[in-house]
């Protein structure tokens, strides 16, 4: 699903990729590892899902390709890095705001304890 409007909910894959890229540019493998880290190992994204989502995000202008360069931690192959765009950052902020509202609502209805700190 292509998402351009900040009002549209994001798919879990798109959300996690944007979250991973919010802390800096990453290549494909770097995004996978960051998603794994952010989700505490609960989200294990395969290459088909990652690149399918990246393609739609590139088309929607949520992310863009950076110049190719070598990752000193990996081999000496030049890799394409991806970075979040202004639109991508806005869409991510809107999604987080939506999550926050849902959590607040859940707390008001006593479904979710307030001790979780939101």
């Amino acid at each position: 699903m292509t998402t351009t409007s900040p009002n549209q909910p994001l798919t879990p894959a798109v959300f996690h990729i944007l979250l991973a890229l919010s802390s800096g540019e990453r290549h494909g493998y770097g995004i996978m590892k960051q998603v794994e880290l952010d989700s505490q190992g609960n989200v294990n994204m395969g290459a088909g899902t990652l690149y399918g989502s990246l393609k739609r995000m590139l088309d929607a202008g949520l992310v863009k390709e950076s110049e190719k360069r070598i990752d000193p931690k990996l081999d000496d192959e030049r890799r394409i890095y991806y970075q979040i765009t202004g639109t991508g950052a806005k869409v991510l902020a809107a999604e987080l705001e939506r999550y926050k509202r849902i959590v607040t609502l859940a707390q008001e209805r006593k479904i979710f304890p307030k001790t979780y700190g939101l």
């Binding site: 393609k55 590139l58 394409i80």
Partner: protein, 267 residues
């Protein structure tokens, strides 16, 4: 282990080739690198590769299916089909139209049936020639050719090695050898009586597919400004297959010419 990984990487590269072209060009290289990085990670952690590789291949195959599905949904697929098949369809129909008019105008009696199968056969052969040759002609016109530059354009293509051309040649010989088996009025296929013309038309798809595949590297090289002769083996195949279809058209027209011009007893 390193040998296994080389094979796995080569297989994964082959799998990525099934993505739609735009996707492959934009993200194919990154996907390969990611797969290699994940393989290296598993190797360094001394974890077994089998489960991971199986998961990656299945997950990527599902991604390929999903990308093609989204292309079909977006209408791009239909545009490509229209672009590829439109001109050959039009050219072949325009070519047989005068013969169809001649057949109708010069009917021997008003009750005479129209030979649909004859014109379908004519159209199919012409369509095959157009489908193989029109992209080459279009690429020839579009490219800025330097006949000195015989370097073929890069890219994975079938039928550019002598081995693949040899196999293709054998398929064509096999095709020619089994063709006469279907010369009767009908043949039994899986227990069903099928008119021989339908079987013959189905068999035409084999040289047609080979011709289209053989033309691909030529088209790519011509578009890149290279020479027509950069891929000699595919070029020979294209010429031979086109010749086969053209000869079929000519023989049908020559055979049926008396009927077209209204000779009373022509069959």
């Amino acid at each position: 282990m390193a040998y296994d990984q080389r094979i796995l990487r080569a297989l994964y590269k082959r799998l990525i080739a099934f993505y739609p072209r735009d996707f492959k060009e934009q993200l194919g290289e990154s996907m390969e690198q990611t797969f290699n990085d994940l393989c290296n990670e598993k190797q360094q952690a001394q974890q077994p590769l089998v489960g991971f590789v199986l998961w990656m291949f299945i997950e990527t195959a599902m991604g390929i299916f999903s990308e093609h599905l989204s292309l079909i949904n977006s209408g791009v697929f239909m545009q490509t089909i229209r672009k590829t098949l439109g001109s050959p369809l039009l050219v072949s129909l325009l070519f047989i139209l005068p013969f169809m008019i001649m057949e109708v105008v010069n009917r021997r009696s008003l009750n005479e049936g129209f030979p649909f199968m004859l014109f379908f056969g004519l159209w199919l052969n012409l369509f095959a020639v157009s489908l193989i040759l029109l992209p080459i002609m279009r690429a020839w016109r579009a490219g800025d050719h330097d006949m000195e530059n015989s370097a073929p354009a890069k890219g994975d293509t079938l039928l550019i090695t002598p081995k693949s051309v040899l196999i293709t040649g054998l398929v064509i010989i096999l095709f020619a050898a089994i063709g006469p088996l279907f010369s009767g009025p009908s043949s039994e296929v899986f227990g069903m009586q099928v008119p021989s013309q339908f079987i013959a038309f189905a068999f035409l798809s084999i040289p047609l597919a080979l011709g289209v595949i053989a033309a691909k590297p030529i088209v790519r090289t011509l578009r890149a400004g290279g020479s027509l002769f950069a891929h000699p083996l595919p070029l020979i195949l294209v010429v031979l297959i086109s010749f086969f279809f053209v000869m079929s058209v000519i023989s049908l027209i020559v055979d049926q010419w008396p009927c077209f011009v209204g000779v009373p007893i022509c069959d």
